[in-house]
Subunit: 213 residues, 2 copies
């Protein structure tokens, strides 16, 4: 399998979103320069990115066929298959993730949640159930879910990660702002709001300093 | 001001979190090799990162003083000041962000929300108010909030960004999975769950293919 960089993988959902917008607006094809201008990438990068996932070459005059691009991207991103996940931690963030409608489009199905708080256990309005965390090992196995989404507070995250891995999880999607230690065969991807905010705040302060000069 | 890369800025909150854990466990100092091993960075990177924000040099035998590091990081990250923000879009994700307790520690205060849905307007249980979106220009100005958090669906995000910028926002924290077009003096930082999931899914598929070999 070709090696894709993290940055490259992160771009594909943005291409897909844009191509769906163009298609909805009635377009049939799109050229690399147009894509590059809209998304702020270089033309060369766009061509390389699309070549890596597309079965059909772009034509110099006509551009690339939009429907084919959409199909290729959805296949590549796994949106046409269903990947099962469970979530641990059903606080505000966990509940938001369990209710996030766009995940379904992306082929991600969050089957159920786990939380130690008895007040959060039981059926949610969306019909999904929240179980006590002791049930994770048994249910993860039975549901054949590979992905465990970690949405517990930082101080519980490593313990939850260990339990998930012992229970057979192959991938962790970690929303706790902490570095988790995991074996090398476990896939881990972090969504760290503290890191994102650090970038935003620093650039904002620079911008304000610039304006005050 | 020294130029910090995005990756470097993203690491600082993870250092801070770790140093606070060590401090809470009773430690007074920490060495670069220990930090590097824990967070999975190289020793050289750790030394460079800390040198860039710390006023005090590390001592070869004693390591760096933890409390000084914590103070320096909190100052650098702006956790000791309060930065005001407002949020547009109070669906599941927006409500989760408005209730996220960790933002307060990070110096971010989300003052109020805006949503077009009358059912979402009014006072939230946490005492914060959700206003109709028409009030954004007036309130953003009056509250002196520089950051607008965008948590609306993709198809409304560009329009909300335009309104926020016209109303005087200096920075946008965008949670909609779409590329926003903004003038160069506006700071923009994206939290894109679709991109994060693309990385996770691709690596999971690679891992599964590896195991089936």
């Amino acid at each position: 399998m070709e090696a894709f960089s993290k940055n490259q993988l992160e771009r594909y959902p943005l291409y897909l979103k844009y191509f769906k917008e163009l298609k909805a607006a009635g377009d049939d094809s799109v050229s690399s320069p147009k894509i590059a201008a809209k998304l702020g990438y270089s033309e060369e990068q766009v061509r390389k990115d699309l070549q890596a996932i597309s079965t059909e070459p772009g034509l110099p005059k006509k551009g690339r066929n939009l429907q084919n691009l959409i199909d290729d991207l959805e296949t590549f991103l796994g949106y046409k298959d269903v990947t099962s996940a469970v979530i641990v931690g059903v606080g505000h963030l966990g509940a938001a993730l369990m209710n996030f409608p766009a995940f379904k489009e992306m082929g991600l199905e969050i089957l159920c949640g786990f939380d130690n708080d008895p007040l959060k256990q039981g059926k949610l309005p969306n019909g999904k159930e929240v179980f006590p965390i002791e049930k994770l090992p048994n249910l993860l196995n039975r549901l054949n879910a590979h992905i465990v989404i970690i949405a517990v507070p930082s101080n519980a995250a490593q313990e939850v990660a260990n339990l998930a891995i012992d229970s057979g999880a192959k991938a962790l999607w970690n929303f706790a702002p902490i570095h988790l230690e995991t074996p090398s065969n476990i896939v881990i991807e972090n969504v760290n709001l503290a890191s994102s905010l650090a970038v935003l705040s620093h650039r904002l302060n620079q911008q304000i300093a610039e304006e005050e000069k």
